[in-house]
Symmetry: C2
Subunit: 444 residues, 2 copies
């Protein structure tokens, strides 16, 4: 495998994403310098749709310039940049322009005028970004599929065919003007686990330059396993296994990679004092998977407590605190970044941090009870957390793989893989005893 | 009466209200210079709530500064300024911050946290504005009551008592920190005509420094009378009579004045070639009413055709076109402004343009079929449009007054005065034959 990349989702320290409204390049540079200082190699950046396109046919040049400014400031720090197009959804807040709201409510995935405007925005922004070697590509929008999730309070109604068409069409526009970029779409884990979600696993694994995965233990895993459970640090890896299962179910090209595009350590599901170890274990487990090309932590900077109404979990996800001081979790991620760099410089030893788990875990920094000892199946050693006796070992599974029930390829029963199901529990139990297993389709 | 004032609702020529996003003082100055050049004496300005308060506890200093900049640029042109706080609603678009939308949906009139934030915004903005002698006061939000209208697609549920409390409380906050300002609240005509509207006529005539009226013929009058009907130019005056009726019904102090805060000439209900005459007739009819203290035209500048999704009527309401050229309607309003100034300089002849109607109408500029000849009941002369014979004169009404059925003081049957009712038709017919009549309550 190629060297995996490690980066962070950039949340401006001062003003969060409202920083876009009156962009201060000096403040942005300071943040990005801190990020680069951790040895990370890339950032995702997230402009706000209502600022980029306040009217359906108005894209203020200054708003475009602001995105370019942030991208270029990141480039100056040696960071690669991926730009998310339509926000859309960020940390519980939905940012929608007035021209798709209330009296102007229109389906953002199927209304022809809205979709045409999105393509225009993609072209305007993409044309500028494509000229910048430090910008690697575009994601259509951060978890934009949330607007079609069955539990969304203002859910957009659309069919799976329409969701797939929206994604494919917009990717085609971006790819057409920026053929050497790597372009993606993204979603929360509902795409893998919610039967009636119009965005399907097929669209996830067949469209875009690679398959993206967003790992949040509060969406079900923590409720199932319990807060502070060592298994939570394996949820990201589980999602990667789910994505990889769908790769095989749908026979996608074997070269297709997986981008763990978001993963974070949310309090109180993860104790603040365990966050660094959670990050270490989560990232090692994820990056050890041969299909994983990159992991991008959520997020760079804590949300300032002076900002209201965020879910409590969202305030403390940063690698830096709201004063800009690096947190232990930032140091943990920096250590992994350093290991990846070392591996990457050695052509005989392409970087995978998997084998490094044991030495790191042996360093004594492992809080008791935390799931630090995630040994990859390819790793020759490593300490293991032994689960309590009340948890049974997976039954009927061959070592290193877990067979899953037959799954409809249209995703209509995909929830069998959700955290509330038995596959997840079996997988977690096995992972904590013998290491992360591959999910094997039932033949036929 | 004191000299009535005449002004305009300021719609930035370039970018409409999206101009706030990246404010260009040079462009704003150019617009305001044009407005002052018409001889108008005041403007209303409309910041956007999501830009002023992107998070419940974040009021970007630059956003506040932008409001002050526009206010001061207007002051430099000799214009008085009234600032609308919460937009809220503008020309069919609703601008709501993310923290009251979708996952964060909360009632903007009754949720304690939302209301507290609105008071904070009022204090922050009001404290700065109060120091400026050219700023006359604040309106709580442009037609903010629309969010509680029964036909709003995301209607806020609240009782009349809650609506009144919200209005009174927020006015009290503004009045407390800015006692010498004149502060208002505003609504579309649903407050006068929609029985189940929680914002009531009582709140309209009892709260704020004066009673505000917004006159739009497309809300019912034009549907009743027909496009191009001469009676449409009297709709603003009718609303003033309705407000004045409620003054008497609710026994408000006799000194209470009425501000015709919005009135416009919407195509196609008013033909473009008739717009100047419509403005002339509308304003003369309104300003002739002894309770009217000011009229504020909607709007200063046409909406650029490059901006999408406005209702067709909204594009051509300006006194200036989208290239910044004064339109005939701008010249018509300027003539009235000049007459008011002349009257105002003569202490023996306090300005009311009512008596000037006849001479103006006699100048030959009256398009045939348009309702130019609005003679006020206090005017000694003036030409009259004779209605077609198919319209009967008001029956059973004494000259100069029209008796209305008993009306519940809580507004629960206020729709008896709506354009679809008989009172309106009777009043219009009388106004076009013998002049605008006073609406008289049924005693008892």
């Amino acid at each position: 495998m190629n060297a995996a990349r490690i980066g962070v989702n950039y949340t401006p320290r001062r003003g969060w994403f409202h920083a876009w409204q009156h962009l201060d390049p000096g403040e942005i540079r300071e943040d990005l310098t801190q990020i680069a200082g951790l040895g990370l190699d890339h950032v995702r950046i997230f402009p706000l749709w209502p600022l980029l396109q306040p009217n359906r046919t108005l894209i203020p040049p200054q708003s475009v310039q602001d995105v370019l400014t942030v991208a270029d400031l990141a480039g100056e720090q040696g960071l690669d940049v991926s730009v998310d197009l339509l926000q859309g959804h960020l940390s519980s807040f939905d940012f929608l322009p007035a021209w798709v709201s209330t009296w102007h409510r229109r389906n953002i995935f199927t209304d022809p005028d809205v979709v045409a405007a999105q393509h225009t925005l993609a072209r305007v922004l993409g044309t500028e970004l494509a000229q910048r070697p430090h910008v690697t590509g575009m994601t259509l929008g951060n978890e934009i599929g949330q607007f079609a999730r069955p539990d969304h309070p203002d859910r957009e109604q659309l069919s799976p065919a329409q969701a797939t068409a929206w994604t494919a069409d917009l990717l085609r526009t971006v790819e057409g003007l920026w053929p050497d970029g790597r372009h993606h779409h993204s979603f929360d884990d509902a795409v893998w686990f919610t039967d009636e979600h119009p965005f399907t696993p097929a669209s996830a694994v067949e469209l875009g330059a690679s398959t993206t995965v967003h790992s949040w233990v509060f969406t079900g895993a923590a409720q199932r396993l319990g807060a502070h459970d060592p298994g939570l640090a394996l949820f990201g890896r589980y999602l990667i296994e789910v994505a990889d299962l769908w790769h095989r179910l749908l026979d996608v090209p074997s070269a297709r990679r997986i981008w763990l595009q978001e993963i974070g350590a949310p309090t109180p599901w993860v104790r603040p004092e365990d966050a660094a170890q959670f990050a270490d274990a989560s990232l090692r487990a994820a990056l050890a998977h041969p299909r994983v090309e990159a992991a991008t932590w959520w997020c760079s900077h804590d949300v300032a407590r002076s900002l209201a109404d965020f879910p409590e979990v969202e305030y403390t996800l940063g690698l830096f605190d709201e004063a800009g001081r690096v947190k232990p979790i930032g140091e943990a991620v920096a250590r992994i970044a350093a290991e990846l760099r070392e591996g990457a410089t050695d052509p005989e030893n392409p970087a995978t941090v998997g084998p490094r788990v044991s030495s790191s875990a042996a360093s004594g920094s492992v809080p008791s009870g935390s799931g630090s000892a995630v040994s990859d199946r390819s790793a020759s050693g490593g300490s293991e957390s032994v689960r309590s006796a009340s948890r049974s070992a997976p039954s009927g599974a061959e070592p290193g793989q877990i067979r899953v029930p037959r799954i409809a390829l249209d995703g209509s029963d995909r929830s069998v893989l959700a955290p509330r199901g038995e596959v997840f529990r079996t997988w977690i139990d096995a992972a904590l005893t013998t290491g992360p297993a591959r999910l094997e389709p039932t033949p036929g």
